[in-house]
């Protein structure tokens, strides 16, 4: 029996199980760049307008930080840059798909069931990788076809599509390797998402600091460097292909060496008796959430350091451009751009913190679905106390994370402008200003969990909509009422415009109502709901 026997069957099983989710992300991530092209065509019909936009974009470090560099001022080049962040999402979707069909399966014991049938040792990993590679390529080719159909040059469209596809392929393989290392799917996701985060940070630093080399270390940095629509450099495509081969060469021997269910990283025995702190729902919640809290805190701290460190040079990069300097002067001096950059970065941190809040709140759902709530509730724990023990982390975890981002940014930015005592509290405040909007999202997750537990995960869709509204709002010129649906629209731009307390209070009150309604609904409903 070959080590690949049964790969085809498993691949079909994966396609069957993912028949909704997989086409959904492929289609969504295909439609978005094409829609960007459409809106640029409508917004900037003349070359002069495009040039002005491209110039402003290239010189706006907050845009470059999020999306990557822009090469040229054609519609295609603008579209390729605007789609830069989508590639991060392609990578995320790819690695999550692979882990879901490898380590998650193994952890749930379903792989064991299949392993007993006629299956080669490598079949599971190979099937998951092949399906995800195929999905990435379909995504890339559909995107290329869509962009070409919108009237953009065919070569550039193909280059852009392939660059997106290869980001998917690389991070699918990263997910495959991470799935071999840890025993839990959560651990594997942590590692793989961490790698994606490092890749993003490298690209961000490389693209905004003026030294390009960190970007060349990141698969997310390679994608824009193919220069779609701006004199394609096809050889750059070889980099992700080579990295994929390298990762696969590492992954396969690792997957053979370990036992089914085990990871490469060992799991140590625990204590025979529970410590003093582990005596009630809050002690339990601390044990369940502390790893996540630590991980997010480190990530947010690093983000703050990077963003704060890059801000001052972002402000300086305007120097020499007379037109922009004038604009900046009107905005309050050259520091205006640095402030705008910091504000935008903290806005991104707010969205990420909302992701943390939703994730922590939805932990309740996974606990219930896994059957771990019944024993606790049957052991004399009040329903409200159990829910509150998780709510603490969903609400206060993002506060800790955002405070760290603010403090770290305040520290590095303060050092670069020589005013740490002044910038530290200012940046801390600007970071914490994001909190009420984050709480609204977390509160929504709590309400969904209490009221409609089977649909609790739609909180992610709401968060994704908020992200997209923030991203697309300006480009598509959406009407204000639509933008107003996102709580982040109401977060005051503290650095630029100063504090306005009313929206923060309203958002906090709304979050409070959502949480209270969620608790009330949970107290009334049956558990467990499968």
């Amino acid at each position: 029996m070959s080590t690949l026997t049964g790969t085809g069957h498993l691949a079909r099983l994966i396609l069957r199980r993912d028949r909704i989710v997989l086409p959904l992300w492929v289609l969504l991530l295909t439609v978005l760049p094409v829609s960007y092209a459409g809106s640029f065509l409508a917004l900037f019909p003349t070359a002069a307008e495009r040039a002005a936009y491209a110039d402003g974009t290239a010189r706006n470090p907050s845009v470059v930080a999020l999306l990557g560099p822009v090469y040229g001022d054609s519609i295609g080049a603008l579209t390729a840059q605007r789609g830069g962040f989508l590639q991060v999402i392609v990578g995320l979707a790819a690695l999550l798909t692979v882990i879901r069909h490898t380590r998650t399966e193994e952890e749930a014991g379903r792989r064991e069931l299949l392993g007993a049938t006629v299956l080669g040792r490598h079949a599971g990993l190979t099937a998951a990788l092949l399906v995800t590679y195929a999905a990435s390529l379909v995504l890339g080719l559909l995107t290329a076809a869509g962009l070409a159909a919108a009237g953009l040059p065919v070569a550039g469209s193909l280059a852009y599509g392939l660059s997106a596809a290869l980001v998917g392929v690389v991070f699918a393989t990263v997910g495959g390797l991470a799935a071999q290392l840890t025993q839990t799917a959560a651990g594997a996701r942590g590692i793989a998402v961490g790698v994606l985060g490092v890749a993003f940070a490298l690209r961000l630093v490389g693209d905004t600091s003026g030294h390009g080399w960190p970007s060349w270390l990141s698969p997310l940095g390679w994608a824009p460097r193919i220069r779609a629509y701006a004199g394609e450099r096809w050889w750059v495509l070889a980099l992700p292909v080579a990295l994929t081969v390298l990762l696969a060469v590492v992954t396969y021997p690792v997957s053979v060496r370990r036992d089914l269910g085990a990871g490469v990283l060992p799991s140590r025995p625990g204590p025979a008796r529970a410590g003093r702190g582990l005596s009630g729902p809050f002690g339990l919640a601390w044990r369940l959430h502390r790893g996540q809290l630590l991980g997010w805190s480190v990530g947010f701290g690093l983000l703050g350091l990077v963003v704060g460190g890059a801000a001052e040079s972002a402000g300086r990069s305007v120097a020499g451009n007379a037109a922009l300097e004038q604009v900046m002067a009107r905005l309050g001096g050259t520091s205006g751009l640095a402030e705008a950059y910091l504000g935008a970065s903290l806005g991104v941190a707010g969205l990420a913190a909302a992701g943390y809040g939703v994730q922590a709140a939805l932990r309740m759902r996974s606990e219930e679905a896994a059957g771990r709530v019944e024993p606790v509730l049957a052991a004399g724990v009040h329903r409200s106390a159990w829910l509150a023990s998780h709510l603490v982390f969903a609400l206060l975890g993002p506060v800790v994370a955002l405070a760290l981002t603010g403090l770290a940014a305040g520290l590095t930015y303060g050092l670069s402008v020589g005013d740490v005592p002044g910038e530290l509290p200012r940046m801390l405040g600007a970071g914490l200003a994001q909190v009420p909007a984050v709480w609204v999202l977390a509160g929504l997750a709590v309400l969904l969990y209490g009221l409609l537990p089977r649909f609790a995960a739609t909180a992610w869709a709401v968060l994704a909509s908020a992200v997209l509204l923030g991203q697309l709002g300006a480009v598509l010129e959406l009407s204000q009422w639509l933008l107003d649906l996102s709580p982040f629209t109401h977060t005051p731009q503290v650095l630029r415009a100063g504090w306005s307390v009313t929206p923060l209070l309203v958002l906090t009150a709304l979050a409070g109502v959502l949480c209270a309604a969620g608790v009330a609904a949970f107290r009334r409903r049956d558990t467990p709901v499968g």
Binding site: S267, P269, G270, A272, A274, G371, E374, L377, A379, H382
Partner: protein, 311 residues
């Protein structure tokens, strides 16, 4: 308190599925009460209602003289529960889970905890994710049995235990009974039920179909007769209460209702008996009769749990 568990006319529906359909269940103080029924009969649903996890749609439910939904927290301090599929937190060790659940209930007996760990041969230092199914059940059992509670509610607690551990389990339940505790034991293992239970309730399609001591239940059922007769067999088939009559020359085999036993034996002796073997109904036959009858159309087959819980 005479009856720690008193359920009458309990109804619980999930959407269009009627999981419990007028269940009566009475558990007397100090007894080990067997709770039997085929998969999907509604055992786990009934237990979840008793634990205040599910809310009853109709009927009266009293648990330890309280309302299981309203007084859930105070009642839970006085009982311990072991689900049929104990799932542990992957990152906690078995010992930590035992202590955590015990402390939530208000403390456990450290001496008994150590004894239980030893007799169940459970390593408390392993992490939750590394335990086998049987060892996960042991964690749940140790946590429950080490607690000082009046009532144990066990939902197929021995699924996954090997025969040796099954014996250890029976020893501890016996000890709990001698300590004066009440046990509701849902089980599929007939030897376990026969060895432990004072009374049993058989549930089917969300309704109790029989309840009583095992002797009482046996009494309601048929005795198997295998006899060699001296003369031609006639007049047997027409007797009320005689079933499955098979005649093979002078040999007859049939099943007879307990009420008709006397009449049937008279008829046999009239013909003349050369040899006679009579067997009281085994527990298996008793249960199989209830397990095998086709389900009533009103109840769905998967009514034991809310849809999708234990996929």
């Amino acid at each position: 308190m005479e009856t720690p568990i008193a359920v009458t006319g309990l109804v619980k529906t999930f959407g269009r599925t009627r999981a419990l359909d007028g269940l009566d269940l009475t558990v007397r103080s100090g007894e080990v009460h067997g709770f039997l029924g085929p998969n999907g009969a509604g055992k786990s649903t009934a237990i979840r209602v008793l634990l205040g996890l599910l809310r009853a749609d109709a009927g009266a439910v009293r648990l330890l003289d309280g309302d299981p939904w309203r007084d859930a927290v105070t009642l839970h301090r006085r009982l311990a529960y072991v689900p049929g599929d104990v799932t542990l937190w992957p990152q906690l060790s078995g010992g930590e889970v035992i202590d955590l659940l015990g402390r939530m209930r208000g403390g456990l007996d450290p001496k008994r905890r150590a004894e239980l760990l030893e007799s169940f041969e459970l390593d408390p230092r392993k992490k939750g994710r590394t335990y086998s199914k049987g060892n996960r059940q042991k964690v749940g059992l140790v946590a429950a049995l080490a607690s000082d509670v009046e009532l144990l509610i066990l939902d197929e607690p021995t699924s996954g235990l090997d025969p040796l551990m099954e014996e250890v389990f029976q020893h501890w339940i016996d000890r709990a009974r001698r300590d004066g505790r009440t046990v509701l034991l849902s089980s599929h293992i007939l030897a376990e039920v026969e060895a432990l239970c004072d009374r049993v309730t058989i549930i089917r399609n969300g309704r109790d179909v029989e309840t009583g001591t095992l002797t009482e239940l046996r009494h309601l059922h048929r005795t198997a007769i295998d006899a060699e007769l001296a003369g031609p067999v006639d007049g047997l088939a027409d007797l009320p209460g005689v079933h499955d009559l098979r005649v093979d020359g002078g040999r007859v085999r049939f099943a007879v209702d307990t009420v008709a036993l006397d009449t049937a034996l008279r008829r046999l002796t009239e013909i003349g008996v050369r040899s006679l073997v009579s067997q009281p109904p085994t527990l298996e036959e008793l249960f199989l009769r209830h397990y095998e009858t086709p389900p009533a159309p009103a109840a769905a087959s998967d009514a034991d749990q809310p849809a999708g819980v234990r996929r």
